[in-house]
Symmetry: C2
Subunit: 235 residues, 2 copies
DNA sequence: CGCCGACTTGATTAAATTCAATGTCGGTGG
DNA sequence: CCACCGACATTGAATTTAATCAAGTCGGCG
C-alpha cells in the first residue's frame, strides 16, 4: 500500500470506525486496484449537489465539509469529515443525485472507490456491509440530534455544541486544548444553523466568559466543562 | 403466516421498501418463529428514550410517531411511521440506548424480531443487510433534509412541508384529498419544529387561502400545488 | 352537568436575523 | 515599500419572526 492510499486501521484516529478495518489482506489489495487518488486544494469541490455519484470517497488526509445549499444561497453544513472517514455513500446507496456538496477545508487527499466495486464489495462481504450499516446508523443518530437541537436550543447552545462537535471530530492540537481545525465564522455559523453575525457575537461572549480563546484563526478551549454545560447535551 | 403477522410484500403500500420483501419462503418462516406480536393502544409507548433496545419492531398495522423529548418537556418528532415499516433499528445497530420514544398514534399491531435473530439475519443474508442499508440511507436523507429545512425555512414553509410529508407517508383517504392520519395541532407543530400556537395560526391561514380544509379532525388538501410551492421544496 | 383536553385568539416579549457601516489582515502589483 | 483590494470579522441599530403568556371556547365523556 503506497503512502497515498493507506487503508490501514492504525491511521484512523477518530471515533468513526474506518470502513475497511475488518478486511483481510487480500481483500484490501483487490480493493486498492480500483482506486484512484486525488489531491484537492482548499475550497475545491469533491462532489456537487445535484450530480450523480460515481463512487465513494475515502479521505486519506485533510478535512472536508459537507453542506446543503438552498436556492437563497444559504448554506447548512450537514457533516464535517476528518481523514480516515468515507464520504458520499448515502447518495450511492439510495441511488440518487448528491443532495449535498463536499468541499475541502484544507488540502485533502482522497481515494475513489468506483460504484461497481463498492457494490461488489458490500454484496460479497457481509462484514463490510455491517460496518457500513454502523456508519450509517451513527450518521443518522448525529443528524437526528442536530435536528432536535436546531428546533429546541438557542443559538448560544448550538454554537457551544458546534465547538464540541469540532473537537470530537478533529481533536486538539499538541497543546491539548486548541481545536485542530480552522474555520471561518461563517462556517461555524453554518454548522450551528445560525448567521455569521450571531456566531461572531456568541463566540465573542464565550471568549469574554473565559470559556474559549482565539489563537490566531484557531479556537482554544479554556473551559471544556463550561462548554459542555452551555451546550446542554442531553444524551 | 397468520393474519397478525404478515411479512408479505404485497401489503407494503408506501414508498419505503419493506425490509423482508426479498426473503425466500423458508427464510420468512424461520423469521416468524422468533416473532412476538402485540397490539398497542393509542398513546401507548412502543419503546422509550433511554432504555436498551431488545429487538426491531415491524409495524403490521397502525401508525407510530418517533420523537425525542428534551428535558424541558419539549418534543420534536423525528419520524412518522406507517404500517409495513420497521422501527428501532438505529439504536440496535449502533448498540446504544434508544435516543427517541415511539408512540402509537392510533391502535397499532407490531411484531418484534429479537436482537439475536435480527443480527443473525443481517449477518447471514447479504440481501437483507443491503435492504437495511437502503432504509438507513433513505432515513438519513430525510433527516438531513429536515435539518436543513429547520435552519432555513419559515414556520409557514415547514408546516406546509409537514403536511406534504404526512401525505407522502400516509396517503389520502378514498376521496383522494384528505390526509389519512389524525394528529393534534401540537403533533403537527412538533413535526415542523414549531409551537402549537404557530401551527394553529399557520393552518388557519392555509385554510383561509383555500389551500387546505378541516374535515373533522382530518386535513383535506384543496390545492396540492399551492402547498408544494409554499413548502419551497428544493430537491 | 362539569371537567378535561384540545383548540383558538390576542397581546406581549424575546431572540435572532437583517441591514449598514467600519475595521483588520494578508497578499499583490506598481 | 506602499497603496489597494478582497475576504473575513466586528459592531450597532432596526426589524422581523416566532415564542411566550394569558384568556377564553368548544366538544366529548364520565
Amino acid at each position: 500500500m503506497n503512502s497515498e492510499g493507506h487503508l490501514d486501521c492504525r491511521h484512523c484516529k477518530n471515533r468513526y470506525k474506518s470502513l475497511f478495518c475488518d478486511l483481510k489482506e487480500e481483500e484490501v489489495s483487490v480493493l486498492s486496484l480500483g482506486k484512484a487518488c486525488k489531491t484537492y486544494k482548499k475550497g475545491e469541490e469533491i462532489f456537487i449537489q445535484g450530480t450523480p455519484p460515481k463512487g465513494i470517497f475515502i479521505v486519506n488526509s485533510g478535512k472536508v465539509k459537507i453542506s446543503r445549499l438552498a436556492d437563497s444561497g444559504n448554506e447548512q453544513i450537514v457533516k464535517m469529515v476528518n481523514s480516515g472517514e468515507i464520504l458520499g455513500y448515502r447518495a450511492l446507496l439510495s441511488n440518487e443525485l448528491y443532495s449535498s456538496t463536499a468541499v475541502a477545508i484544507e488540502i485533502t487527499s482522497i481515494c475513489v472507490l468506483p460504484r461497481h466495486l463498492f457494490f461488489q464489495f458490500i454484496e460479497q462481504n457481509a462484514t463490510l456491509a455491517g460496518a457500513l450499516l454502523k456508519i450509517a446508523a451513527s450518521d443518522l443518530k448525529q443528524t437526528e440530534r442536530k435536528l432536535v437541537d436546531l428546533s429546541q436550543k438557542t443559538a448560544k447552545e448550538r454554537i457551544a455544541e458546534a465547538l464540541l462537535y469540532l473537537k470530537e471530530i478533529y481533536g486538539y492540537e499538541q497543546d491539548q486544548s486548541t481545536i485542530n481545525i480552522i474555520l471561518t465564522r461563517g462556517d461555524i455559523a453554518n454548522i450551528a444553523g445560525t448567521t455569521r453575525e450571531t456566531s461572531i457575537r456568541v463566540l465573542a461572549g464565550l471568549k469574554k466568559d473565559k470559556i474559549i480563546d482565539f489563537i490566531g484563526k484557531s479556537i482554544k478551549v479554556r473551559d471544556f466543562q463550561g462548554l459542555v454545560s452551555l451546550a446542554n447535551i442531553s444524551d
